[in-house]
Every structure is written in C-alpha cells, then in structure tokens.
C-alpha cells in the first residue's frame, strides 16, 4: 500500500481510540518522568518499559491490523498503573499524607502529579479497553 493510500484509507473508531491511547501514553510518559525526577526512589523502570511498550504497540497498530495487540495494550497499560500504584510507600503514602496534612509516608507535595499520573493511566487503560470492541477499518 502506498503511503498516501495508507493514510487515506477509511479508518474505524478503534483507530481513533488507538491514536488517543498513543497520545495519552506519550503524555503519561512525560508526566511520569517528571514525577520520577521529583525525588529519589520514585523511578520504577518497569513502568517506563510498559509505557514504551504501549506506545510501540499503538504505533504498530496504526500500520498493521492485529487482533491480539489491543488485548495486550489493555493488559500492559493496566500493569503500568498497578506498578505505579504499588510503589511503596510513596504513591499511596503521599496521597494519605496529603489528606492528613502531614509528611509521613510519602511527600504530599507530589499529590498533584501523582493524581495526574493516576488519571492519565486510568483513562489510557479504559480507552485501550474500549478500543478493543471496535474495528480499526470501516
């Protein structure tokens, strides 16, 4: 398929959702790296790897129609979210500290960026899941 034809072909809903997932993954990657640099001990390499895999999968889906990748992306994005949440004790600890107005289990100053990470990864995961129900080409 030539490039112009490839780009102009009739795209289905899933393709647009995949693009949304790709954008969300890139945005999350940037936000996550920002968070990881906010202090020592916050960086979990596997979160980065999983986000990169989501991005690569979504790029691949743009070029190659595949039924397995959407399932994998749903799992990978949720896996990234789980690993981020589980990082003890900074993630949930910072949220707990924020609401208790103390600095004990994490760093409440990171509350905003932690919530941003959660929201982005959750929306990314849900979008990835929803995309699996739709076709990529009309």
């Amino acid at each position: 398929m030539k490039g112009k034809e490839f780009l102009m072909r009739k795209r289905g809903v899933a393709t647009f959702l995949n693009i949304a997932v790709l954008c969300l993954a890139v945005a999350e990657l940037i936000v996550y790296l920002q968070y990881a640099n906010a202090g020592e001990g916050l960086f979990v390499p596997w979160v980065l790897v999983l986000l990169l895999l989501v991005i690569l999968s979504e790029i691949a889906l743009f070029f190659f129609d595949n039924d397995y990748l959407p399932i994998a992306v749903a799992g990978l994005s949720m896996l990234a979210l789980g690993l981020f949440a589980q990082t003890p004790p900074e993630t949930l600890g910072s949220i707990a500290d924020y609401y208790q107005n103390i600095v004990m289990f994490g760093d409440p100053q990171n509350f905003g960026i932690i919530v941003a990470n959660f929201v982005l990864m959750l929306v990314m995961s849900v979008t990835a899941i929803v995309s699996g129900f739709f076709r990529r080409e009309k």
Binding site: G82, P88, L92, Q100, F105, S125, I129
Partner: protein, 1021 residues
C-alpha cells in the same frame, strides 16, 4: 463471522480488569492491618473466660459509661485550658484592668482574625479527630462566648465565601493566612453596636513533617510578596498588621488578643497596636475555648494561673539553636549530591543522608540561653554584652531580646512567693523546698510554684567544658485557691539529679561541682534569676521590659556543696557505669571537623551566627552513615543453640505456656521467658516484629496472643480506628476527646496525672493496649513542627510531666509509648537527619524527657526517632537503645521504630542492623517485612546471635503486652483463633473471578480466531 470483535473487546476488558484486581488485592493485602483497623475488624476470635485485670474507672465498658468518660474528658479539657491559658498582658482601661471582662457591661464583642472562623484546635499530626467528626461536641470561641452570655459580631460567612475569603492553612507559612485589610474595611458598616470589645485571634500552623518556615520565600507563591519582614513566619505579617491597625482605628473600648498556636510567635507589638490584654491559649482542643472564655471573664472570681512553658523572644531567630535548625539546616559541605555521596560509599537516598544539624547551642536551649547571657552581662562579661547574636543594633540587651520569659504569667491578683525552708532527703538525694505563697492582690486564685536552681560556674567547670545555665528549672507544684490576703505553704520536691551536670571531658559522668548553690522562686525564670543575682550582690538588675527591679532576698535559699562525682556514677542497677557513650555524635570526633559549641565562657567567640560547615569523611564515618554494617561475628554460635534453630526446622516447641500465663512473670525470670519464647516458630518471631500501632496476633497453641489495637497522638488518641465502636456507641460516631496543648503550662500535677488516666480509660474503651504518645523531645526552637506534641523547651519540665502522665496511663493497662527517641526536635529533613551534639547537651537536654518516662516513670514502650545520632540511624544506635535505655536506665519493655512501613529501600530498610542494635519492632509494618528480612539473614547465615536478638525482641514485646490490657479477660487456657476478614475473602474471590473471566474470554477469542480462519480458508477453497 465468529464475533471476533466482541471476544477481542471482552478479552481486553477482562485482562485489564484482572490485572487491576490482582494489583488491588496485593495493595489491599499490604495495607490489610490498616484496613482492618479502619473497619474495626479483628483477625482473631476468642472466647475469653478470664478476669479483667485492668478495669475502667468508669465501670463496665458500655455506652452509658462511655458518655460519662467523655464528659469527664471534656471537663478535663476545660480545666486544662483554665489553668494552662497564660495571661500575657492586662493593661488598665479607664482605671481598671482590661480583664476580666464583665459580660453585663461589655456584652457586645467583635471577633477579628481568620483564626476566629477556623481556630486551630490541634496540631496537624496523628491525633484525635473529634473536632472534625463530632462538631456538636466542639466548642469554638464564638460558641463559648455566646454560652457565656456575650453577643458576638463575626465575619464567618464572609470568611467562608471563597470569592471573598481564602482557603485553608498553608502549613508552615503564615504570610497568606490572614485576609487583606480590604476584607475588614468592607465590614465596617456592620460593626456598630459591637464595640465593647474587639477580640483578635492569630494563629500559626505547622505539624508533622513541617516546621514553621524561617524563610517564607521558600514557598513558591511568596515571590509575589516584597516585604522583607514577612520572611519569618513567626513575625507579625503584613495583613495582620493592617488588620490590627484597622481594629485600633475603630474605637473599641478594649482590644484583646488571643495567640492560638504552639509556635512561639514574636509578640513585641502589643503596645504598637493598642492591645489592652493578651492571652496565650495554645491549641485548646475540643472544649478548651470554654476554659479560655472562663479566664476572659474570671469565672467564679478566679484568677488565671497558667505560666509559659517556653520563652517568647522578640526575635524568634535570636536563639543560638536556630542557626542550624529547621529551615536553616545545611547539607554536608562535601557531600550534597548523589555523586559526592556515592564517591564516599554512601548509596542510600540523598534526602536521607545529606542533611546535618550540629546542635552548636550546647545546653543553651530556650531560657537557658537568654537568662544565662543576661546573668553574665549583668556580671560584666563583655562577650555577653557584645553585638554577636544581638537581634538589634548595638550590643546584646536582654530587655530588647525578650518578650516573655519561661514561667511568665499574670493573674487578676498578685502573689508573693518566698522560701520558708529547705530539707535535704539524704536517702533519695532530693530536697523538699517549702514555699510560702501569699495572695497580695484582690482576687482569689491559684498560683504555680516553680522552683529554680543556680549552680556554680567557675574555673573547674570551664576547664572541663561543663556548661551551666545561670538559672535552671528543677521542680513545680500548684497551690489551691488562695483568697485575697490569704497564704498557703506548698512543698516542692526537687531531685538533685536534675541539677547535676554531665562532664564529658574529665569525669565522664554526672558531677555536682563544688561551690555555692541557690534555690530560687519568683514565678518566671527571669525573676527567679534576678532574686539569685540579688543574693549574690549583683546590681543593675532589670525585668524583661528594662525596668529596674529589686530582688526578693526571701525568695532565695543558699547552700554550699563539695565536689561529688560518685552519687550518679552508676545506673539503676547500681552496677552499670554511667559514662560517655556518644563521643561519635560530637562532630569534632571526626577528623576534618572543628565546630565550636556555645560556651558562656566565650559568648562572642562561640555564638553560632550561621550554620556549621561540616565534612563527611570516607571510611568509618561513611560506613556508619550508609547504615548496613551488621556482620555475623566470627565466633557467633549456630542457631541450633535455640529451639527454633535445632535441626533447622525453625519450629518452636510446645512447653504448654500461654501468653496469659506470663502476666505475672518478672522480666528477669530468664528460665520462664526462655521456655515461653522457645514455643514460637521462626515465622511467629517474625510476626512479633510487625506492628500496626497495635500488635500482630499469634493465634497458635499454646501461645494465644490476642490482637489488640494501638492509638497514636499526644493531644488525644488518634489512629486508623480512632473512634469508639458503633456497637458501643449505639450507632453514633464518637471519637476520643481532643485535649489542649497547654497541659505543660498548668504546672498542675493533678491535671497532668488526670490526663494520663483519662487517655488510659479511653484506650480501654477502644480495646487498645498502647498509645504512642507523650512526646519526650524538646521545643528546641520556636519553629519545630511538632512543638504541640512536645511539652516545653525545658528538659526538666518534660521529665517531670512524663514521669507523671505516662505511668498514670499504664496504671490503666495502657502502654504509654513515649516518642521520638531521641533528639527529634525538628521536622525539616527529619528522615535521616544527621544530628551532632556534645554529650552534656544530649544527656541534660534531649534525653532527659525520655528519662522521666522510662527511668523514673518505668513505662514499657518507646518509639524511636527518624533522625540519626551523629551519622547512626536512631534505630541502629546501640549506645542509645541498649547502653542508655536498658543498661543505665534499666528499661524493661519494647522499642519500636518510627513508621517504617515495611519499606524495602532507603535507610529504614537496614533491618538486620537495626535488629542487632536494640530495635524490637517495626512501626506500621503490618506484614512484618522487616522481621522477615532478619529471618532470611538468620537462615542464610546460621546466625545464632541474630536469632538471639529476634527472640529478645519477641520477649520484650510479649513482656510489655503482658503488662497491658491485652491480658484483660484472657485465661491461661483461652484459645485465640485466626480468621480472614470478609473483605479480604471478597478480594480473593474477585481475583479468582476475573482471572477466570480473562482466561475464558481470551480462550473464546482464540477459538473465534481459529474458527474464522477456518471459515475463510473454507470460503477460499
């Protein structure tokens, strides 16, 4: 087609949900004990047949008695506020003192200051949340005034209106809390009819993890501010000044200021803004404002009797401690980055290793600095009079530096205190100082009697670097109500130990140096000092306002002593030598460092005007900082010397001894305790090291150790389950009472003991066995975030309070876990802060409060500090946890870390080293991760020494619990069984369901793909 899209979508959905549920289950499991506490769910069941060992003073645990208990707690809070509120200023208005207010003539009151709308009832830390959860019980200033008959005009609706008002506290900062003056100008038309009295309330808020800012420009939003004087958060802020000017211009008959904080604000502005009366009220808790208003009105004709437990300096940055503390804390000169630390062999996190607090002030914390420098200045010491350390132009001038000295407090009457007699009690090395208190005024009232001591300071002391405060608080009592013209004699017990000095250079022990000694009274430390100086024949004495004073010779008792290096040579057992254990915590112990400690022999040359520059050296210093230094000793025995290690089966043996059977077994009954501990499997020894404020149960035969809850908080019991069970309250949410922060200002031992008793009773109604409470650290600077949890800047006062409050708690079977051991007197960089000091300052200062609870009070629990002793993590400091605590003080009980939470990285994760150096238990490690790592090391290295430490820990924890309400109702043959909470079962079921759904949908998707492939293949054929 085979619905590939549907199965693909469902596969993605269920795979995603499966992953989500697996992580959720893991996270929930990680926090299971916290969740159980929050839900009030137990993981054990039992049918108790034994007797109640520790009974509530309010009778059976039921709803009716709970309400009686809480009513008593609320009454206690009012009493604390009445006796702890400190009257700072009370000028005459129309020929009469501004206070007390007469509600019949001064009924109409206007409330100014955002704090009147959102008062600070407590500190921001773990503490009772009753003020939030029980609003009907909460008494605000407005409510208390109205209940007392006043009509109040307030601006609460405007404060609440976010378009007009601001928001919540910005903890640690004060520049943006108060409204701009335009806010008040807009209310000007509403003030008519309420101009009898203006009450202005100001506050400062910080708390756990957050000090008050010494430089508010560190706050991102502060860059929009321009006024230099606002940088210090304890100074009066621009909006506050504008508001006070506005109030002054409105023509109120009286202006009364309430200081609603636990941080020693700068209060040198009362006269400038026409303030007629001012009171320090701390944080008044649930019902304390009723007490504050009782003081304002002089209810029942009584006079206020609270006295300051801290110094209020004109410049909160003028103390020598602040140069290195709070926001001024520096990093290592040569290691302030990861790369520099790693080059020295330190791999733990930068934020946990690089910050350094050299306590250059030595013993001169709070009044010990201001009063001693004053005494030396009066005595003609040019260094004391020099400009070094002066907050104002010219030489150092006490009257300029001081607002209100330690022990200060006015009343509606006046008293004269004189020393009638002094009796030495040879058997326990104490003195009974009999003080006559005469009411020389016109109102009835109580008076706090504070006894101070002056000890010799001369060539002997200087040669040995022994520092002496010119006036030292040593004991207190409180009179009953004395009618005008009446008098009362009170006996104040003074322990000689409290004015012995620790000589770390020569004797290496406590000494009473030879020379003249003076007991003195007079209320505040400055008056008492002036009385001593007068007795010494000094002249030129002034009060804190610079007025000449005439000392009272009858307020002083003089005697002489010979040099005594023997009386306090040994610890509680009479055998352990009390000697230097903290040489490594003196920064000058380490090569390349030469930092002076403040000495009164050279004020000008040693006063710290900026943070010390200190160097981290490679080798031993860096190794200790890195924190993982435990190694199995070459001659360590095999684990098979213990029951658990025999044949490496790691199981215990059944000696038929239940936990309940240990409740009367003495700590030193080695044979019985060994048999008891032999019964634990290694995994059960590990579980004993776990903690969720309360203990982890051992539901196995024959041990049967029940699960019990633990509370947290000094101003009232908090924690995940900080409310009484709804079964008990008949469905109503009731939290334990929130007490005041001014208990120390009452100088009333009965109230202090009553607080311990009531918190103990509340804990019994909560089914708890421990409260992590009773802060043993000092308010070393006005900025310390947890000042509300500590009692005073003075170590002896802290010692005396904790030796009363916590034993009262333990009498009810509730372990009083004093925290944070030791020297944890700032929140900035508290995690891993390298804290250096000389041993005299440490023993007479930071350690003293804990000594009151643990040595004198003989309580059974202590929580360690996040900070370090020198470069050694407090939880790894054997000198502290074993040498001082167990060997010198004879402590019998459990030692817990501060919140370690089962972390696997960073300085708290050196579990093997901490276990080997006196730590027994890991706080908020509900899964016993730390103990598990210790067990892994034991097994991998066949380390009998470390197994011995683990067994010792289990013994210490079990011993403490056996002296608590954990034994209530527990008979020797009662069985404790473990149960999995319903919520946890549901998570496992959900996990199984979603795994099955994911597998099923993926299988169906694959089948659909295969069938579709076959269909297409068939179509093509």
């Amino acid at each position: 087609m085979r619905k590939i899209g549907l199965w693909r979508g469902l596969s993605g959905l269920f795979v995603g949900l499966m992953v989500f549920v697996i992580f959720a289950t893991a996270i929930l499991s990680q926090y299971a004990s916290v969740i159980n506490n929050a839900l009030g769910v137990s993981t054990t069941t039992s049918s108790l047949t034994g007797s109640v060992v520790y009974e509530s003073d309010f009778g059976e645990i039921n709803a009716e008695n709970l309400r009686k208990l809480e009513a008593a707690a609320e009454a206690q809070t009012i009493a604390e506020a009445v006796e702890g509120t400190v009257l700072l200023k009370n000028e005459d208005v129309d020929g009469k003192p501004a206070l007390p207010l007469d509600v019949t003539r001064e009924k109409n009151v206007t409330l100014f200051g955002r704090a009147t709308y959102s008062p600070l009832y407590k500190t921001s830390a773990a503490v009772s949340k009753a003020d939030e959860t029980n609003p009907d019980r909460l008494v605000s200033l407005d409510r208390a005034l109205k209940e007392a008959g006043f009509a109040t005009k307030n601006f609460f609706d405007s404060y609440a209106d976010k378009k007009v008002g601001k928001g919540k506290y910005n903890s640690g900062y004060s520049y943006q809390f108060e409204e701009a003056v335009g806010f008040y100008e807009a209310q000007q038309g509403n003030l008519a009819g309420y101009k009898d009295v203006a009450i202005v309330m100001l506050t400062r808020s910080a708390g756990e993890g957050i000090d008050m800012a010494v430089d508010q420009s560190t706050d991102a939003a502060f860059k929009f501010q321009t006024k230099e004087q606002e940088k210090n958060s304890l100074a009066l802020q621009t909006n506050e000044k504008d508001m006070l000017n506005f109030v002054k211009a409105q023509g109120y008959k009286k202006i009364v200021v309430l200081i609603n904080t636990n941080y020693m604000m700068e209060l040198d502005w009362f006269d400038e803004y026409g303030v007629d009366a001012a009171l320090y009220i701390g944080t008044p808790g649930l019902t304390g404002f009723t007490g504050v208003v009782n003081v304002l009105t002089g209810k029942d004709g009584l006079s206020p009797s609270g006295r300051l437990a801290d110094t209020f300096a004109a410049d909160s940055l003028s103390s020598p401690a602040i140069a290195n503390a709070a926001g001024n804390t520096p990093q290592w000169k040569n290691a302030s980055s990861n790369a520099e630390l790693k080059a020295l062999g330190v791999n733990d996190l930068l934020q946990e290793t690089s910050w350094v607090d050299v306590q250059q002030e030595s013993i001169y914390v709070g009044y010990k600095y201001y009063e001693t420098r004053y005494a030396d200045a009066i005595s003609g010491d040019e260094g004391a009079r020099s400009a070094v350390g002066s907050s104002f132009d010219g030489g150092w001038d006490y009257a300029k530096e001081m607002c209100y000295p330690f022990g200060y407090g006015l009343g509606y009457t006046t008293f004269r205190q004189t020393i009638s007699k002094v009796q030495k009690n040879e058997e326990d090395h104490s003195y009974t100082v009999t003080v006559k208190v005469e009411n020389t005024g016109t109102a009835a009232g109580k008076d706090a009697v504070l006894v101070y001591v002056n000890t010799p300071y001369g060539e002997y002391e200087k040669a040995r670097k022994i520092e002496k405060s010119a006036i030292l608080f040593a004991g207190f009592s409180k009179t009953g109500v004395i009618a005008p013209g009446g008098s009362e004699e009170v006996d104040v017990e003074v322990d000689e130990y409290l004015f012995a000095s620790y000589d770390y250079t020569d004797t290496k022990g406590y000494v009473l140096t030879a020379g003249d000694y003076y007991f003195a009274v007079g209320g505040d430390a400055h008056t008492a000092l002036n009385n001593v100086l007068g007795a010494m024949g000094k002249t030129g004495l002034v009060d804190q306002d610079g007025n000449a004073v005439t000392p009272d010779k009858d307020a002083v008792y003089h005697w002489e002593m010979e040099l005594d290096t023997q009386t306090y040579k040994y610890g509680e057992d009479g055998e352990t030598l009390v000697t230097n254990r903290f040489d490594e915590m003196d920064i000058n112990h380490w090569e390349g460092n030469d930092v002076p400690y403040l000495t009164r022999s050279d004020w000008a040359g040693t006063f710290p005007v900026k943070a010390a520059e200190v160097t981290l050296k490679s080798g031993e210093m860096a190794k200790l900082l890195q924190g993982e230094w435990y190694e199995k000793a070459a001659d360590a025995p095999s684990t098979d010397i213990y029951a658990q290690g025999k044949s490496n089966n790691w199981n215990g043996v059944d000696n038929g001894i239940s936990f309940a059977a240990m409740k009367d077994v003495a700590y030193d009954d080695e044979e019985k305790w060994t048999k008891f501990i032999d019964q634990f499997d290694l995994s059960e020894l590990v579980l004993m090291t776990g903690n969720n404020f309360g203990n982890i149960p051992i539901a196995s035969q024959p041990i049967n150790l029940p699960e019990k809850w633990g509370g947290d908080g000094c101003q009232g019991i908090g924690g995940e389950r900080g409310h009484f069970s709804e079964t008990l309250t008949q469905g109503e949410a009731i939290d334990p009472c929130l007490y005041t922060s001014v208990l120390g200002c009452t100088f009333n031992k009965e109230l202090i003991e009553k607080r311990g008793n009531l918190m103990g009773n509340e804990a019994l109604f909560l089914d708890a066995t421990v409260i992590w409470t009773g802060g043993g650290n000092l308010r070393r600077t006005p900025f310390g975030g947890r000042n509300a949890e500590y009692w005073s800047e003075d170590a002896n006062l802290t010692y005396l309070i904790l030796s009363v409050e916590l034993p009262a708690m333990e009498k009810k079977g509730i372990l009083g876990g004093v925290k944070h051991f030791a020297g944890n007197d700032q929140e900035s960089h508290r995690e891993g802060l390298n804290t250096f000091y000389n041993e005299q300052a440490f023993r007479e200062g930071a350690l003293r409060g804990f000594e009151g609870a643990l040595k004198k009070g003989k309580v059974h629990s202590v929580m360690q500090s996040f900070s370090r002793q020198g470069v050694i993590f407090s939880s790894s400091c054997a000198a502290l946890n074993i040498g001082v605590l167990r060997e010198e003080w004879g402590f019998e009980g459990q030692v817990i870390t501060d919140a370690s939470s089962g972390v696997l990285s960073g300085y708290k994760a050196h579990y093997v080293t901490t276990m080997a150096n006196g730590t027994n238990m890991y706080c908020l490690d509900g899964k016993a991760v730390g103990g598990g790592i210790v067990a892994d090391y034991i097994k991998a290295n066949d380390d009998g020494v470390l197994l011995g430490y683990l067994r010792d820990s289990a013994k210490n924890i079990a011993y403490s619990l056996s002296r608590s309400a954990a034994v209530n109702g527990l008979a020797e043959d009662d069985v404790i069984s473990s149960v999995t909470p319903v919520w946890q079962i549901m998570t496992y079921v959900a996990e199984g369901i979603f795994i099955a759904l994911a597998l099923g949908s993926v299988t169906m998707f694959v089948i659909a793909k295969v069938l579709t492939y076959r269909d297409k293949k068939g179509e093509r054929q």
